[in-house]
Amino acid sequence: MISPIHIITLTLGTAFFIGLLKKLNLNISALLMLVAIAAAGTISASWFTAILSGAANAEVFTAGFNPPYSINLLMGKGEALITLLINLAGFLGGVYLLKSLKERGIYTMIIYLVFIMSLNVIVMTRDIFNLFVFMEVASIGIAGLVILDKSSKATQAGFKYLIATGVIAGILLIGIAFTYYFAGTLNIDVIQQASIINFKAGSIAVFLVIISIILELKPFPANGWGIDVYEGANPGIGAMISAASASAMLFVLYKLAVLVPESFLQIITAIGILTFVGSNLMGIKQSNANRLLGYSSIGQIGLLTAIVGLKPFLGAQFELIAVSILISHFFAKAGLFWLSGIVKKQNLKDWAMLRQKPYLLVLFGIFIFALIGFPPFPSFLGKWELIMKLAHSHHFYILAFILIGSFLEGIYLFRWLGFSIKMEDANLPPLTVHWNKIIPVVLSALGVLGSGIYFGTITEIAASLKYIPLLFIALLYVIDFLPVYVKNTVSIAGIGYYLYTIYPDLEGFKLIFGLIFLAGGMLTLVAGYFKTGTRKGFYPLVMLMFAGLVGLIEAHTTFEFFFAWELMTAGSYFLIIRGKKSMTHALSYMLFSLAGAYLILAGFGLAHIGQSSYALDILASVQSFAPLVFILLAIGFMTKTASVGLHIWLPGAHAEAETDVSPMVSAILLKAGVFGLILLMLNMGSQFIGSFNIYYALAWIGAITAVMGNMMAAFQEDAKRLLAYSSVGFLGYILFGLSFMSHLGWLAAVSLSVVHFMFKTLLFLAIGGIVYRVKTKEMYKMGGLIKKMPFTFISVLMGIIVIAGVPPLTGFGGKWILYNAVLEKGWFFPSALVFFAGIVAFLYCFRLIHTVFLGQLKDEHREVKEAPFWLLLPQYMILMVIMLFSALPNSLLKPIGAMLAPIFPEGALEWQGQLAKSGFGYWNGQVIMYIVGGIFVVVFAWLWYMNRNAQKVKQFNIGYSAERPSLPETTHFAYNFFAPYKKALGFLVSPLITNFWDSASEGVHAISDKVRRIYNGNVQTYAFHILAFIVVVYLIIF
């Protein structure tokens, strides 16, 4: 093994050597610089692997004496890892900065080398004065690198940096001096043994040391200088500060944390959390890319600071948590800063430029998802473990603040991602990418992906995860250049094969929802054949969503469930944002999903208190806060079922999605929430707060959702929005049924889930086909299409009859069961609302079919063709199933009933053939079908006999006040179809909830805007902030 001291000798030596070379050859100098850093990195890496495989830590005594008489360096696991990261960042950053380093000459390279070297020493040294010296070297290095950029902003930033770190260094020095005075040594290990914290003066000395280190980490709110540096510096330098320098300082904090008592640690945690939340809050209002990255960096470092403070509570998982979050931050932030240098545009909206090179967009997405903590990135695991441990140790406030901070971070990061995917990019300059700038970014992305997978393999809890679906997704990325029909076939075959392999293991709810997810997925994919071209990037995302969905079905532990939930969210987000006008809708989908996911995470965390296993059935034996766990999880799942209050993301997201994506996200994706609720209710059973039954509240939420969704649907002009709101309403019925916790209630809910899947797929495909042909979604611009698209008409007709729940089709079964369930349960008022909603559904059903298909055909649609065959095919496949379920209702209801029987033995339906009997009434779907069919045929025959000679007339041949109308537009009654109804009841759907969320969002932005005013750019103010921060913390501690 090479001694760690050579990290220093190599880098320092090279720095001197290239100084000698002067301007002989800049290329050789640059190469030498990179080789030196690479060699240093190799030394770190070799130590890291050696220590991981059991080698002892290395200690270096510089002057030949033992401490406290010499400066000693330690190379342990942590040091090896952090120096490895620093040297890696140094190397990649060097490659990235190659051009500008060469432009600015040899001295910049020397500064760069010395900077990297000093960071290495900061990490390894065990001597606090030595630490101080190299911190100064690093500071000067950074300031030098920042100032060397020839812009006034950079100069200012460098100056502020010098002043601020100067103030901090002063404090640190005082602290070190007193520590030396009290402890008689500068060596950390010896100071620790000296236990100077037992008396006040000693602990003040340690306090001054620690607080300086914390200030170096740019804690909120004493961090204005740091933000300005991030904004002003070259992004390449920003990457170094954020990734390398911050990692080093964080390690110093970790190293020195052994010196302080537990009360200090609490303060460190509090500062970290405050920084995490405060910084992310201010990021929300930010529109400058580098400054935003600065906020995000400081936030992440704040989180890591808090983790250092929480070390005593995190136990054996501390390393995993800290390292996984650090590594995600490290790669993602470096990558993002580097990307920012490539884009060269500071306005976030200009990042739409990335679309010119799609692989840059992919990289950008990887970094954003890694930062937020989505699987399979390491921070996902880290956050999971962190939340579990915090819940275990009853740190509920910290848990809540961490989730809030993460959510705030999600707001601006996903908005930014949305800009880059969807923002108008017509007037942006072309993007040029140099090899030396892109390689580091690609390597960072690979690094964060690879480390995520590595962490997955070494962590016990993640060992059971199935990566086969993810491999399949990777395969689809590889064959992304092939035409649609190939990829579509591969996708369908893949899902089919997977369904075939897992089918024998599915039973009960898992079978039903597995079929909805997978068979439903295959069915909706069939429609994809109507697309031509390659449809780049579509199939991997679809499969990502389905992989998540199937993961929910297969999950045995809360961790697997959450993993799958996040995969599904990520996949569906990208599917939704593919729509033409989907930017804002995808963002609101993502934010609701994110908030929901965090609630679920918190719920799982609380459920895990006092449990040793992560199995899903721990929910059945929650030790403490059971009602709270239930509420958290239920609200989390209800963000997906779009229950009232949490529904505002849905209409836009579903309506703006592509033709065949709408059914996926509407008919299939929403069922994930239903499945979650079912799992939750099955395991946790009835829940009361005092004597109040939470399920009664759920029943009301379901009922109000149903009325609100259906009424909103009736007032829409956009056909797809109408269908989207109709989904909201229908999911309300399902929630209502589930809340009954009775056999019939669940029978209704589960069968309605199946039925909703069928008719919503049918309708979205049918309407999608129309929109595809007539190029508009506004219903009043259509009309009379029955003659042009008769097959589509039939499927819409069947679809709306099912929605309306009118006998004889299968929708009526659901209504009948609900009636019986209500009579059994007795919750009449919410029930009355549900039945009211059922009738309100007639309004939008009729509007949908009338304004689109009936009435007057528009002139511009006279040449419109029937919808493409591939869109019709799945519709008619579904129609056949609907007719089967309608004629033989027990083919659907009996198996579901049998499945429910062990759970709810009381109140099951009694079947005699097709006759269903409940405690209150009876219903024979088959006989009804025959009778209605019989009467219909007889009456029709009679009419036909009387009127067989009826003459078909042209469009305007109507009795119109003895006139012949000339324009379809003036004759087609379609716009604002239910105007009087709106006049009477429109107040019920005044957008209170949308307004609520709008003002919540505005409020957060306003707070963010106010808070960030403390950063006035004046360096004196910043220096004052630093001192005030010390004073305040001092007053809190002492």
Partner: protein, 303 residues
């Protein structure tokens, strides 16, 4: 229940009787309305003449398939509604197809014809038809809410959704009718009944003055004839439903005639006295007065 050929014959008999009763009732009511308005009015058998005249028309036009089968939907809805109910209590012959489903079926089957008709009317392309449908559906949603609550109250009271059992529970003197055992539910339902009958003040759907006869605007000759048949059967079927639910049902045809005639007269009386509501007015009215009463009915049943 085994289903035999005789059931079809029984059904035909029921339809025949009710059809004639409905036509005569229609004629008589129109006559009464005219007399109240100091006019002489039509002959009581005028509805028969109208039907014959319509079928005899030689020119028939159609606007398309849906337009053509709309009256079929409508009449199927009317006949079906009638046949899914026990018409005469205790009579196997006139219980028809009530074994197929209970009260919920009947409540929802009402809409089968309404919606089918709405579709066909809309295909006619006449704006008046669509306006009529818009108004009609709006009004339906409003009066369904008190009706639903009332029906739930009744079903709770008798612990069944089986219409035959509901009627059976009301036997033994008029004091055991729902009218007296559950007056609030009865009032709520009878208010909803006004909406369901579509007479003034809730006749804005057909509105002969501004949107001449609403949805059926474009229908004529045989198509209108089928609708007219339904106009006889459908109200009669609804009358029988409300009679079964609230007024003890009927054990014989004369009893049925008397009871349904009186129930019908309730809507005729209100219609002759009160002028027409606008849609928004009627929607609000249903969701205030009858709904409040229905809520009281539920509270009384529950507590």
């Amino acid at each position: 229940m085994d289903f035999g050929f005789k059931h079809i014959l029984y059904a035909l008999l029921t339809v025949f009787i009710v059809l004639n009763y409905g036509l005569i009732l229609q004629g008589i009511v129109r006559k009464i309305g005219a007399r109240v308005g100091r006019r002489y009015g039509i002959r009581w058998y005028q509805p028969y003449i109208d039907i014959i005249k319509n079928y005899a028309k030689r020119s028939t036009i159609t606007h398309g398939v849906m337009f053509y089968i709309a009256p079929v939907f409508r009449l199927t809805g009317g006949i079906g509604l009638l046949l899914f109910m026990p018409v005469i209590f205790g009579s196997e012959i006139f219980s028809n197809f009530s074994f197929a489903g209970d009260l919920v079926l009947v409540l929802y089957f009402q809409f089968f014809g309404v919606l089918g008709m709405a579709l066909g009317a809309a295909e006619g392309g006449h704006p008046y038809s669509a306006i009529g449908v818009s108004r009609g559906l709006s009004q339906v949603t409003a009066f369904e809410l008190p009706l639903t609550l009332g029906v739930l109250a009744i079903a709770m009271q008798y612990q069944t959704l089986n219409i035959t059992e509901i009627v059976a529970a009301q036997q033994g003197g008029f004091l055991s009718w729902t009218l007296f055992t559950n007056p609030f539910a009865t009032i709520a339902i009878m208010f909803s009944f006004l909406g369901a009958m579509g007479r003034s003040p809730f006749d804005v759907v057909l509105a002969p003055q501004e949107i001449p006869i609403g949805p059926p605007t474009e229908f004529h000759s045989g198509l209108l004839g089928v609708l007219q048949l339904n106009r006889a059967i459908f109200p009669a079927a609804k009358l029988i439903l409300f009679m079964n639910l609230l007024f003890g049902g009927a054990t014989s045809w004369p009893e049925l005639v008397v009871k349904t005639f009186l129930i019908y007269m309730w809507s005729v009386f209100v219609g002759t006295v009160f002028p027409r509501f606008r849609v928004d007015q009627s929607v609000r009215w249903f969701l205030v007065v009858p709904l409040t009463i229905a809520i009281i009915a539920i509270i009384l049943i529950r507590f």
